[in-house]
């Protein structure tokens, strides 16, 4: 059913990089069974596949981080076996990993140049030169990041941008980007694309991984599809359609991507009045009603996550009130928020959403630990029972219950996070980038789920950097810019233009 014929390769000469039949297992898990991808110089090549298809694993093999159990790996036609990341770097391969890997204590500039800092007098590192070069890089990317600040406390988006700066500054022959745009919003994505294209034009080979098809089709020359750890097909972008790719990825048709159904909008569940925190956000007023999905949109760094954290009680706020179902929430007390009926799916599942060393069961039951206890004592059986119920509902594989969450793929991990919050049966669910790094199949399942939850009268506050998701899911869109709400749009008024307008600060868009 798939086009198994790769495009003619003779036109491209020997591939800059070619991996065939790579396999990698972790204990019982076969992460990759037949990893195959061939990159030619001067092309941007997309790698797509569902969560857990093995994309990141393949990337890590190319990077020299994992040693494949089987397979053939050629660089410029020569067989290679990387023993470490240093080897792949030496071969001119530069990688942006799915999860940012910055050094929090080092300055931004040093993060970019670590290991190859420019040298000055007496062979010692020249900080001035390093700072200057970092500024030049940021100018290319058009982002205002102070090269002298430490990386600690940067938003995920800024971290991702630094990763990108780091990778392109290497001037590598092969650039591999594993979901670099997951945390970015429109403008940054555009800039990244411009940079990627110019690198391609200079003859670099680029491997680009994303779950967003608009990006894949806008940027890439060829697309390789993977499923269940196996190579499926490679297409010229010009000759492929989204439907075809999706069918190959999931092995079946997908009806709709954003099935938000109209629900009865009821009473106000969450009411935020005059919320402010010096230097981060101010004058935040909004309501969320039962059955309603309210999206917080805006550019990265607009302060959306910070508002949500303050509402949930993770962070403090200086001014304003948060009211849930008529009673005021105690500031800085997440347990009170949970008790009152709020659930929060955070944006960084690795550090905030999950306890990676604990099993799926323990993770899922973590939010329930108080209600599961009888006379202060928790029984393991009740814990598993509760966990199984909710993870089955979200189709987390049953056999995973006793495995550490760290062994699951990103998408399955996100399902566990959702399961643990749904288990609390919340009145208000805050979801911060709920589909970040999630494949289409799971993504539409998540959207359906959110829509269902709204239908059952749950109020949902959704933060998302994906405009189609915002427009498709939200009953109302609040747009933030520099810590303020600059527009409140109803579903009908929420056009891409209106949202982008407000997000980029032209105050005319505000009400």
């Amino acid at each position: 059913m798939t086009l198994d014929q790769a495009p003619a390769t003779d036109a491209r000469g020997p591939f800059a990089l070619s991996l065939q039949g790579a396999a990698k297992t972790f204990g019982p898990v076969i992460a990759l069974a037949d990893g195959t991808v061939q990159l030619a110089a001067g092309e941007i090549h997309a790698l797509v596949g569902e969560n857990g298809a093995g994309k990141s694993t393949l990337v890590k093999i190319l990077a020299g981080l994992y040693h494949p159990d089987a397979g053939e790996f050629l660089v410029d036609g020569e067989a290679v076996a990387f023993r470490s990341v240093a080897d792949s770097k030496a071969a001119g391969i530069s990688v942006i990993y799915q999860e940012p890997t910055l050094f929090p204590d080092l300055t931004v500039a040093e993060n970019i140049f670590i290991g190859r800092q420019p040298k000055g007098r007496a062979g010692l590192i020249s900080r001035t030169a390093m700072r200057r070069q970092a500024r030049e890089l940021f100018a290319t990317l058009g982002v205002p990041i102070d090269p002298d600040r430490v990386a600690e406390g940067l938003s995920i988006a800024d971290q991702q941008i630094i990763e990108i700066a780091k990778a392109i500054s290497l001037d590598a022959r092969v650039l591999i980007m594993d979901e670099p745009t997951a945390a970015l919003s429109g403008i940054e994505v555009e800039r990244l694309f411009a940079v990627a294209r110019s690198l391609r034009d200079r003859g670099a080979a680029i491997l680009f991984i994303s779950h967003r098809f608009d990006e894949v089709f806008a940027l890439c020359d060829r697309i390789t599809v993977m499923r269940d750890g196996r190579y499926i097909a490679t297409h010229e972008t010009s000759g492929a359609t989204v439907e075809q790719i999706v069918r190959e990825m999931v092995g079946r048709d997908i009806a709709t991507l954003f099935p938000k159904e109209d629900a009865d909008i009821g009473d106000v569940v969450l009411s935020v009045v005059g919320l402010g925190r010096a230097g981060v956000f101010s004058d935040i007023d909004f309501d969320v009603r039962s059955g309603e999905i309210v999206a917080l949109s805006g550019l990265v760094g607009a302060g959306r996550t910070e508002v949500a954290r303050a509402v949930f009680g993770i962070d403090a706020y200086d001014r304003g009130t948060v009211t849930l179902l008529g009673s005021r929430l105690k500031p800085r007390d997440p347990q009170a928020a949970i008790n009152a009926g709020i659930g929060f799916v955070p944006e960084d599942r690795r550090k905030q959403g999950l306890v990676m060393d604990l099993t799926v069961a323990r993770n899922t039951a973590l939010t329930l630990r108080n209600s599961l206890a009888r006379f202060g004592i928790i029984s393991g059986a009740r814990e598993r029972e509760a966990s199984e119920k909710w993870s089955n509902l979200l189709q987390v594989k049953a056999g995973y219950q006793d495995l550490p969450v760290s062994t699951l793929s990103g998408g399955n991990q996100q399902k566990v996070v959702l399961a643990k919050w749904l288990a609390t049966e919340p009145k208000l669910l805050i979801v911060d980038e709920p589909t970040r790094g999630i494949d289409v199949g799971t993504k539409s399942a998540v959207h359906k789920l959110l829509s269902d939850l709204a239908g059952r009268g749950i109020a949902i506050l959704m933060i998302s950097s994906e405009l189609p998701e915002v427009l498709g899911m939200a009953d109302r869109v609040l747009v933030m810019h520099e810590g303020r709400i600059t527009a409140r749009l109803d579903r009908a008024d929420a056009t891409p233009e209106a949202v982008m307008h407000a997000a980029t600060a032209s105050m005319e868009g505000a009400l």
């Binding site: 470490s84 080092l106 290991g115 800092q117 590192i125 002298d148 429109g186 981060v280 520099e482 982008m500």
Partner: protein, 349 residues
């Protein structure tokens, strides 16, 4: 999505302005600043009360007392910066000190330089054992070095038994290293200062030195990034071993006897010195210069309290308060930096 939007880069600080801010800022926000100020204040106050404190002999004693802990603290700082720790330094010092004594007794007339080299090589070996266990088996340094703290001490006991070597067993010239002074500075203190400077330049100006900071800041990221983590961490432990070895040799020069218990219980003092000097206990930040000042401050405080005749029962409590104060000060400084960052970013965006 539109491509015509103006870059938001207009808020980027101009290079010149930020350069100026950097110079003043870097002095004001030097992690070492609190410990240096505390040291100056302590010395001045003590001197005002007891002028003998800054007599040539007083200064000499103050510096000599600090020398050995200073070298150990510098070594410890290197290891702590990589997010490890070496609790076995006291035991390494003990073994090397006894080894030094043995060398002089077994090979009368052995050149002093050779003793220094052998001592440092011995220290390097012991440090390498720590480093290899930590890096190859990938287990936490605190556990490994707590283990080698016991093992090395046991070996020292087994080797030395009741034997002790005394100042008399060593050549006059060797002992004089810790007696003679140049411009009021004892020779071994000058050696220590030299070591601090060399290590400081390495840590700040060499790529592999910066790698150590990166590793301590996030070891996983360092591995993913392709920094040779194993090699660098091993290097840190070996460097610490070399310095502990040097300290062991100098200990033998300065003190009367070396035996089975030499250097017992030093480990926590050394870690405390590094912490007081602003080295973050979880790695990634701090400097060896700070650690050296931390050592100087901690050793001086004991001498200062004696000099002003503070009841000796209070001394240890005061040292404790001092350690806590330095941690609190460090935290206040970093909270203020973070707040400043948050506010200035909000303006810049």
């Amino acid at each position: 999505m539109t491509t015509t939007v103006q870059p938001t880069g207009s808020g980027t600080p101009t290079p010149a302005a930020s350069e100026k801010r950097n110079i003043i800022g870097s002095v004001m926000h030097l992690r070492e600043l609190p410990v240096i100020l505390a040291l100056v204040a302590l010395v001045l106050v003590t001197w005002a009360i007891n002028p003998l404190f800054l007599s040539p002999q007083g200064v000499k004693d103050m510096l000599l007392n600090a020398t050995i802990v200073m070298i150990l603290a510098v070594g410890q700082a290197i290891v702590i910066i990589t997010r490890n720790v070496d609790l076995s330094v006291g035991s390494i010092l003990g073994l090397v000190a006894f080894g030094t004594g043995t060398l002089f007794v077994s090979f009368p007339g052995i050149p002093i330089v050779a003793v220094f080299i052998l001592g440092m090589v011995f220290g390097a070996l012991l440090g390498a054992v720590n480093g290899l266990l930590v890096t190859l088996a990938k287990v936490p340094a605190l556990v490994i070095t707590l283990g080698t703290l016991y093992i090395y001490r046991g070996l020292n006991n087994a080797w030395a038994g009741g034997t002790q070597y005394f100042a008399d067993d060593r050549p006059e010239a060797f002992g004089n290293l810790s007696v003679d002074t140049v411009l009021g500075f004892p020779l071994i203190t000058l050696m220590a200062v030299f070591v601090v400077v060399i290590v400081a330049i390495f840590m700040a100006g060499a790529r592999s030195g910066r790698d150590l900071y990166a590793i301590g800041s996030d070891p996983d990221a360092a591995r993913v990034f392709g920094i040779p983590v194993t090699k660098r961490v091993l290097l840190a432990f070996v460097a610490n071993g070399v310095l502990a070895g040097l300290a062991g040799v100098l200990y033998t020069s300065r003190f009367n006897s070396v035996g089975a218990t030499t250097g017992t219980g030093l480990e926590l003092d050394v870690v405390a010195a590094a912490v007081v000097g602003g080295v973050a206990i979880f790695g990634g930040s701090g400097s060896v210069v700070g650690a050296a000042f931390g050592a100087l401050l901690l050793t001086t405080i004991t001498g200062a309290l004696t000099a002003v005749r503070v009841d000796k029962f209070w001394q240890q409590a005061i040292v404790g308060v001092l350690i806590l104060a330095s941690i609190v000060i460090d935290r206040i400084a970093s909270v203020r930096t973070a707040r400043r960052l948050r506010v200035s970013e909000a303006r810049d965006v």
